[in-house]
Every structure is written in structure tokens, then in C-alpha cells.
């Protein structure tokens, strides 16, 4: 695709330049990234020089702009389209290139080995889906490899067992859902990964897929066509278990907790209630709402390839703001339900609050405390 094709491809003509996209954009709080203006330039400036637009890598694809657009356009997608032009032109930050390469070769962006993907599950007695289970637990990349996020995967497993859910994982067959690849502008790579996953899944009689990451959930839910099974994010599934009374949360967890809506769960898929439901059903736990929550929640900057690209203003981090807000709220725990949020926020917590300060946890970690 060329710059000149953007207007047609993304119906840029329909934009009325109202500025809601940039106005709500979390990045516009800290960098010169201005999607409204980028759209306009693509419209009026036939020889727009996209290559020089480094800011394009600032976008975390949180989807706020798309959510707010009054004319039904999808600025997030426009950014992706622009990135794909950069990718074709080879203008990519090295870190991004490595991540993409790793995805192509190893099926994960973390430059980890394929055959180590399921190591985290050793000794947990987790069955492979091939052994025949209706519920497939799609672990995802960082839960599989990142030691911090592995805790979440483990917590999930523990919970599933407690509620005697018959489930299995793909093990080393699992490859990245491709969500990030697509958002980094590598549409081709995304399609490849999608095919891989679909092939792998093909033989298994899965009825329900549960994911750790909202990003995986979003990909399977919205970007994989023709799945013959339901896809749920774990918060939906676990909330379900609690509803059906299959998950006795007996232990008191005496903590003041606040919750960060992950963009891919909340803004993009409107899953607001379930995570809160889970937290509220943990005995002794006091849930306090951040002012900016639900549709207005503040992005952690983890998405859209930002795990592998610093962006143009690395000093300032929205995660810091977020942690600060949580602390002002008097929360002891800042809970979330997304691996990226978990990592970025915890990182921020360390710098802002230091060790022993506010704790950043995944909802599942609180759940197991209550088991």
C-alpha cells in the first residue's frame, strides 16, 4: 500500500477533523503523536512523507480514538495501515524488527525457544488438549515465558482445578495469536500466525477457548474468522464459575484494591463488569474505583508493539500516572487482568512507590489468595 491509497482504503474523506481522536488519545498527553493531523495530511498532502513519522510507533492501539470517532472511522486501524507502509519501507525501530523476526521464527515475540513454551506448566499436572478436553486454555506468549506473568498462568490453572474444570493447553504447539504482529504493521505475519493456530486447532473438538491475555482474546474474538468454538477472556470464564457457585472463595483477603481496565478488555470489547464481579466476590476485599475507569480508563502503554518500542518520550510514562492515581486512592493493590498492564504497571510501581509500596497484581493472583 502507498500513502496515496490510505484515503480510499480507510475512508479518510469522511473525517470531519473534529479532534475527538487526538483529544482522547493517551499518547497525545506525552508525545507529538496526533492521529487527527496524520489523517488530514494523508488527505491533503499527496506526497506526505510517512517514513519520517517516528511518532507512529508511539501508538499503543488502545482504541480510544476508534471508540470516540463520531463518524464511524477507525483511526487505530489507520495507524496500523500507516505502520504497514513503514514496515514495507523497512523503516522500523530495531527492537520491533527483532520482535517480528522472533515471531516469524519462534512463534513468539520474546526471542524464546518454541520448545520451552510449556515449561511453566511442569509439575502442575496440566493436560494437553490432545488428551481431549472441551475447554482450551490459550496461554499466550508472555504468560508462557515471562516469569512474572507465569504466576498468572499458574494461578489460573490452580483455579481451574479448584473448580474442577476439564481443560487442556496446546503446549508447545501454541504460537502467538498474532495480535501484536498485526498492530506493528506486519499484516502478512499476522495472517501466517493465524493460519498456524487454525491448523493446530483444527483436529481438536474444543467448545470453549479461555485466554490469559485480553489481546489474545481480542484477536481470536474479532480477527480470526470461522472459529467453531466460543472464546472467552478468563475474567468472563471465572466470573461464570463464581456465578454457578463452582468456585468457593472462602479466605478473607483484607486489602484495598483498585482495578485498571485493560484497553483490549474494556474499551475495545466492553468487558467491564466481570473483572469487578470477581473482585467484589472476594471476601474482605475493598474495591475502590479510579476516577478514570471503564470507557475512560487510562492506557498503560503496553499494547501495539510498545513492549518492544520505547516511543518518542520514554521519560514520561502513563503507567506512573496510573500508579500514582491508585496510591492517591489509598489502594494497597492495583489489580489488572492483562499481562502487558501487569508488567508496565509493576515496573512503574517499583519506580514510583519502591519495594513494599503499592502492589501490582493480576486478578487471578488475588483469587487464589482467596481459595
Amino acid at each position: 500500500m502507498e500513502v496515496q491509497d490510505l484515503a480510499q482504503a480507510y475512508r479518510l474523506f469522511e473525517c470531519i477533523q473534529c479532534g475527538r481522536c487526538t483529544g482522547g488519545c493517551p499518547m497525545s498527553l506525552k508525545t507529538r503523536f496526533n492521529i487527527r493531523r496524520l489523517i488530514y495530511e494523508a488527505l491533503v498532502d499527496e506526497d506526505m512523507d510517512l517514513q519520517s513519522k517516528e511518532v507512529l510507533w508511539d501508538c499503543s492501539t488502545c482504541g480510544t480514538c476508534t471508540l470516540r470517532c463520531p463518524k464511524g472511522l477507525d483511526p487505530t486501524d489507520i495507524v496500523i495501515g500507516m505502520r504497514s507502509i513503514l514496515v514495507d519501507g523497512g523503516r522500523i525501530p530495531p527492537t520491533i524488527r527483532d520482535a517480528l523476526k522472533s515471531l516469524a521464527i519462534r512463534g513468539n515475540p520474546l526471542t524464546m525457544a518454541r520448545e520451552e513454551r510449556s515449561d511453566w506448566a511442569e509439575g502442575l499436572g496440566v493436560r494437553e488438549i490432545s488428551e481431549g478436553a472441551k475447554v482450551l486454555y490459550f496461554v499466550g506468549c508472555s504468560p508462557s515465558y515471562d516469569p512474572r506473568v507465569q504466576k498468572v498462568a499458574k494461578a489460573l490453572v490452580q483455579t481451574f482445578k479448584k473448580a474442577d474444570v476439564e481443560f487442556g493447553i496446546l503446549g508447545n504447539e501454541e504460537v502467538c495469536c498474532g495480535s501484536e504482529a498485526r498492530r506493528m504493521g506486519e499484516t502478512g505475519l499476522f495472517e501466517m500466525l493465524r493460519e498456524l493456530n487454525l491448523e493446530t486447532l483444527e483436529p481438536y473438538p474444543v467448545e470453549l477457548m479461555v485466554t490469559t491475555s485480553p489481546h489474545c482474546y481480542d484477536a481470536f474474538q474479532n480477527e480470526y474468522q470461522g472459529l467453531d468454538f466460543k472464546v472467552q477472556h478468563y475474567t468472563q470464564f471465572v466470573a461464570g464459575l463464581i456465578d454457578e457457585g463452582k468456585l468457593p472463595l472462602s479466605k478473607e483477603v483484607k486489602r484495598v484494591v483498585t482495578y485498571q481496565d485493560p484497553c483490549f478488555l474494556g474499551k475495545q470489547n466492553k468487558i467491564f463488569e466481570e473483572p469487578r464481579k470477581i473482585l467484589e466476590s472476594i471476601p474482605g476485599l475493598e474495591l475502590r474505583e479510579l476516577d478514570r475507569s471503564r470507557e475512560r480508563s487510562l492506557c498503560c502503554e503496553g499494547g501495539g508493539g510498545r513492549m518492544w518500542a520505547e516511543g518518542t518520550n520514554p521519560e514520561e510514562r502513563l503507567a506512573h500516572t496510573r500508579v500514582q492515581e491508585a496510591m492517591d486512592l489509598g489502594a494497597e493493590v492495583l489489580a489488572t487482568a492483562c499481562p502487558f498492564c501487569l508488567l508496565t504497571l509493576e515496573d512503574a510501581a517499583k519506580t514510583v512507590a519502591g519495594e513494599g509500596g503499592i502492589q501490582v497484581m493480576d486478578i487471578m493472583e488475588l483469587v487464589v489468595e482467596a481459595l
Binding site: 480510499q8 475512508r11 474523506f13 477533523q17 488530514y40 488527505l43
Partner: protein, 563 residues
């Protein structure tokens, strides 16, 4: 025996009673000389309240009534009706406004009560001097005149005619249709105008109740609502028409683009106006169109030419240009899909039903909207260069074009001062005819019996024009239906002993009710035209004019009671 006055103080629920001690006020009133009866009641305007007054009039033989309640604007007609039903002359009523002018604007009870007392005292002193007045009625000539044969005039004429009344439709030009006849298609449906209009014209021409006078002009008007006498030049002859009501639908002129020399209109043939574009398209059979034998590659539309522009004395928005430009831009896209079509705007005013949707559609078709009002056009070789700041980029740009279409706005007709003078219509600062009230009386004028339709009152698109034309028709047919009209009883009276005939009053009178009696050298008043506004009385240096119901004696008595 002197007048016997009844005073009625209203609580208006808590509206008055909460801040004014109504009992106190009533007690005071009871003590006033020639007050035969004073009462207070929760809602004087309610049926029981009115009943109270009627009974008292009978029982105590009251000759004058004072009601202390809300603004006369609200309930004077109510209470006039009340006392009339009890056999008093309706003008023997005086109201003291102790709500809007007292309880609603004061907090402190004692103060408010004192003021209320003064207001009542003043009203009583005036009531003492009130004199009965006669309301007269005059018969109505059962026909209407419509001036202007554009879409507004035709619609108004049709409605009145369809209601069964004789209509004279006077059109300056030899043919009907006005500006509409020059248009090609209408948004948002892109329906061709010609057939629509033809149908309308056929209906008008064939209508038994419509007497159509084309190439005709109104040259004289006298009389008043119900009995207007109109002189019309019908080709050679002059006809005298007698009508009861008049609808003015004289339309508008298009802004003369030459007044914005920076756009080079008249110099560059490729700079045309919106109206020329309409002709261009409908002549070129509207499948393709050329600018001197070539298909234009870059077509540029410029909005607000002669609108929102104090520099040419048109502060107002012309209301239609945004949408006709959008429509024209779309037409170009349809005829020349390859052409680049750009619209330069300040604000896109797609306010009407289906407008925003149409605006969306037009952009969807690939018409480029850039924000910025061009400041000049010049030539570079064969191509036109338009200089403008793109205010969204914050950068000055120079755009090449093969065709520039100026969205010229709507202006009052050049001859509207003449018409205004002829019909005694005031004009608003923008130069269009002025309606009686900008909110609630959009088609009436200060002159009863004369109503406004279409763009002579201000810019309008077709549906709004049609609606307003029908509205004017409604106003115009009501007196015809009633067969007679009431004449204001409160009028000015001239004391010929005092009047020097200087004519200052005549200048002041918007109703044209005063004229100089040549022989006597004093002013005389037409009581049917007089609306009793009192402007003349105030203006007369000799105080030779009295306003009945507001005579100096009555007012001074009131003032005296207050100060």
C-alpha cells in the same frame, strides 16, 4: 356619585404571597378613597377568582376594577373579559403588576410589600380617571394579495386559494418560478427541479381562485387590514385591487461576486458563481460538463462569498450555501469521477433534516473539505491559483484549479427599500424585512394584515421557505375566515387646538396612521391604523396628542402616587 373601585390582590399561589404580605396590601387598598371593596385570593385568574370579581361588581355596583397580580401581558385580556361579562366596559380595568415587577425581583418582604402597596395605590389613582372605550369591528374584503411569484409566493397563493379565497398573485417578471427556476437539482435527493416546479406552476396558473398578474408591479398601497387598496401596473394598464390581507414574498438577490475583487470574478472566466454552475450543469445535460471544451481536473468551491463578511456589509450567514455547495461538489464527482473536488469552508452548516447525512455522503464520495477561507485568486499560466490558509494545518497553501465556484450568498433585493417604503415595512439591520417577533411571530409584520413569506424576511432553503409561505398563508386567511377584524380601542387623539402640524409624530408612527390635514394645517389620525403604541404622544412637543387609556392626567396621577 364618583367611581366605585374594586381592588383584587392575587397571591398567585406562593409566587406573590411568599414575598408580599397580600393581606397587608388588601387592608391598605380598602382604606383608599373611593375603593368600595378590596379582596385577596390565591389565584385571581382562576374561575372562582373571576367569579368573585363578577359578584362584587353586581353586589357593590363597582364601576372600576383594579387587579394586582401578574403582568398585563398575561392576564389583562382575561380580566377585561371578566368585567365585561359583568357588564362593565372592559377598559375600566387597571392592573398592578406585583409579580414580575415586585415579588419575583425582590427578596425582602417588608420592602416588597411597600412597593406592592405603592403599585396598587398608583393603579387605583389611575383607575379613578379611566374612561370607557369602544371596541369597533370592520368588515374584511374576502381576497388576498400575494406579491412575488417565486416558490414562496406560489405556495402562499395556492394555500389561500385552496381555502376558497380569491387571490391576486403579482409577479414582476413575465414568468413564475423565481430563482428556483434557475436551479438544476436539489439536495439531498438530487431530484431535478424542473418537473417539480412545472407542476407547481401549472397548479397556480390553472387555479380558478388565483388571478395571476405577471410583468406586474405594486405601485401604491393604502388602507388597513381587511380593507387594503392596492394599485398594480398590469403591463400597460393600472389596476386597483381591493384585498383584505397581503403576503409579501418578494424574494432576494444573489450577492454580486464583483464586490470581492480578490476572487477575480468577472476577470477570470473560470471563476463562476454557484448560480452559474447550476446553469452550466443543467445546460450541459448534466451527464458531463466542460469548461471551455475541457474537463476540469481540479474543481474548487469557495464558501461564504458575501456571507459572514462585514467587509461587504453582510454580517449574516446565507443559510443555503453550505448545502448547495455540497450538492454541486457531489454533482461534479458524479460527472467527473477523476476530478479532484475541494471545498474551502469556515464552518460547515449542515443543520437541516438530512443535511448532515448528505454532508457525510458527499465526503464519502471523495470530496475534500479543507478548512480556511481563501483570501485571493490569481493566474499562473493557464491555471488559477487560490491562496488560502489551511487552518487545520496552520499553513498557507496555494491550490491550483481549472474551475472555481464561488458560493455566493443571499442579499436583500436591491429594490427592497422601495417595497419597504411602499408597504411601510421596517427592515432589520441585515436589510431584510423585519418580522413582528423573531421567535413567536416569524411571518407577521408590525402592520396587521401584511405577512412575510420566503427569503424577503431572511435567507431560507426550499423546505423552510415553503413552510413559511404556508405559515404566512395561514395568517393571511384567518382574517378572511373571520370576515371582520377588531380595531384597537386604545388610540391616539389629537387636540387640534394645540397641534401645530409639525409632523414629527408622523415620522414616528410605524403604522402610518398620522397625516397632515392640508387645509387645517393640523395632524389627523386614522383610528383603524393606530395601534395605540403612544410613540406619537411621546414625540409631540406640543403635547397635542393624547393616548386614550394612557392620558397625561392618568399617568401623572399614577406617577404622583408612586413618588
Amino acid at each position: 356619585m364618583g367611581p366605585r373601585i374594586g381592588v383584587y390582590v392575587c397571591h398567585c399561589g406562593v409566587n406573590i404571597a411568599a414575598t408580599v404580605d397580600v393581606e397587608e396590601v388588601t387592608r391598605f387598598a380598602q382604606g383608599l378613597p373611593s375603593v368600595a371593596m378590596a379582596r385577596d385570593y390565591t389565584y385571581m385568574c382562576s374561575d372562582p377568582g373571576q367569579a368573585l370579581i363578577k359578584e362584587d361588581i353586581k353586589e357593590f355596583g363597582l364601576t372600576k376594577v383594579v387587579v394586582a397580580s401578574c403582568s398585563p401581558m398575561m392576564h389583562e385580556p382575561t380580566f377585561r373579559g371578566t368585567i365585561q361579562e359583568a357588564g362593565l366596559n372592559p377598559y375600566c380595568l387597571e392592573m398592578a403588576n406585583i409579580r414580575e415587577q415586585c415579588s419575583w425581583v425582590h427578596e425582602e418582604e417588608e420592602e416588597a410589600t411597600r412597593k406592592a402597596i405603592q403599585l396598587v395605590a398608583a393603579a387605583v389613582d389611575k383607575a379613578f380617571l379611566l374612561e370607557p372605550l369602544e371596541e369597533r369591528r370592520v368588515a374584511v374584503t374576502s381576497a388576498a394579495l400575494v406579491i412575488g411569484g417565486g416558490i414562496a409566493g406560489m405556495q402562499a397563493a395556492l394555500d389561500i386559494a385552496n381555502a376558497g379565497f380569491q387571490v391576486y398573485l403579482v409577479e414582476k417578471e413575465p414568468r413564475l418560478g423565481g430563482h428556483l427556476a434557475q436551479l438544476d437539482k436539489t439536495f439531498p435527493t438530487l431530484e431535478p427541479v424542473a418537473p417539480l416546479l412545472a407542476e407547481e406552476i401549472r397548479e397556480v396558473e390553472g387555479h380558478p381562485n388565483i388571478d395571476l398578474l405577471t410583468s406586474a408591479e405594486v405601485i401604491g398601497l393604502e388602507g388597513y387590514i381587511g380593507n387594503f387598496k392596492v394599485n398594480v401596473t398590469d403591463q400597460a394598464t393600472i389596476r386597483d385591487l381591493k384585498v383584505g390581507t397581503i403576503v409579501v414574498a418578494t424574494g432576494y438577490d444573489i450577492f454580486d461576486a464583483r464586490l470581492k475583487p480578490e476572487y477575480g470574478y468577472g476577470i477570470y472566466e473560470k471563476v463562476i458563481t454557484g448560480l452559474q454552475f447550476e446553469r452550466l450543469v443543467s445546460l450541459s445535460g448534466s451527464r458531463k460538463f466542460w469548461v471551455n471544451e475541457k474537463e476540469p481536473q481540479d474543481v474548487l468551491f469557495i464558501q461564504c462569498v458575501g456571507s459572514r463578511d462585514k467587509s461587504v456589509g453582510h454580517e449574516y450567514c446565507s443559510r443555503i450555501c453550505c448545502m448547495y455547495t455540497a450538492k454541486q461538489a457531489l454533482l461534479v464527482k458524479e460527472m467527473l469521477p477523476q476530478a479532484r473536488v475541494t471545498v474551502l469552508y469556515m464552518d460547515v452548516r449542515a443543520y437541516g433534516k438530512g443535511f448532515e447525512e448528505f454532508y457525510d455522503q458527499v465526503r464519502g464520495e471523495g470530496v475534500l473539505y479543507r478548512r480556511g477561507n481563501p483570501s485571493e485568486i490569481y493566474k499562473n499560466g493557464k491555471r488559477l491559483i487560490v491562496r488560502v490558509e489551511d487552518t487545520l494545518l496552520g499553513e498557507p497553501v496555494q491550490l491550483e484549479a481549472d474551475l472555481v465556484v464561488l458560493a455566493t450568498g443571499i442579499t436583500p433585493r436591491r429594490d427592497s427599500p422601495k417595497i419597504a417604503n411602499l408597504l411601510k415595512l421596517p427592515r432589520s439591520p441585515d436589510g431584510f424585512f423585519m418580522e413582528a417577533h423573531p421567535k413567536l411571530r416569524p411571518v407577521d409584520t408590525v402592520t396587521e394584515g401584511i405577512y412575510l413569506a420566503g427569503c424577503c424576511q431572511g435567507p431560507k432553503d426550499i423546505p423552510d421557505t415553503v413552510a413559511q409561505a404556508k405559515a404566512a398563508a395561514a395568517s393571511a386567511m384567518i382574517p378572511l375566515c373571520q370576515g371582520q377584524v377588531k380595531v384597537e380601542a386604545v388610540t391616539s387623539i389629537i387636540d387640534e387646538e394645540l397641534c401645530s402640524g409639525c409632523g414629527i409624530c408622523a415620522e414616528m408612527c410605524v403604522y402610518d396612521a398620522l397625516s397632515l390635514h392640508e387645509r387645517k394645517g393640523v395632524m389627523t389620525i386614522n383610528e383603524v391604523l393606530c395601534k395605540g403604541c403612544g410613540a406619537c404622544a411621546a414625540a409631540c412637543p406640543s403635547k397635542a396628542i393624547k393616548l386614550s387609556h394612557f392620558t397625561p392626567a392618568q399617568i401623572l396621577a399614577q406617577v404622583d402616587a408612586l413618588v
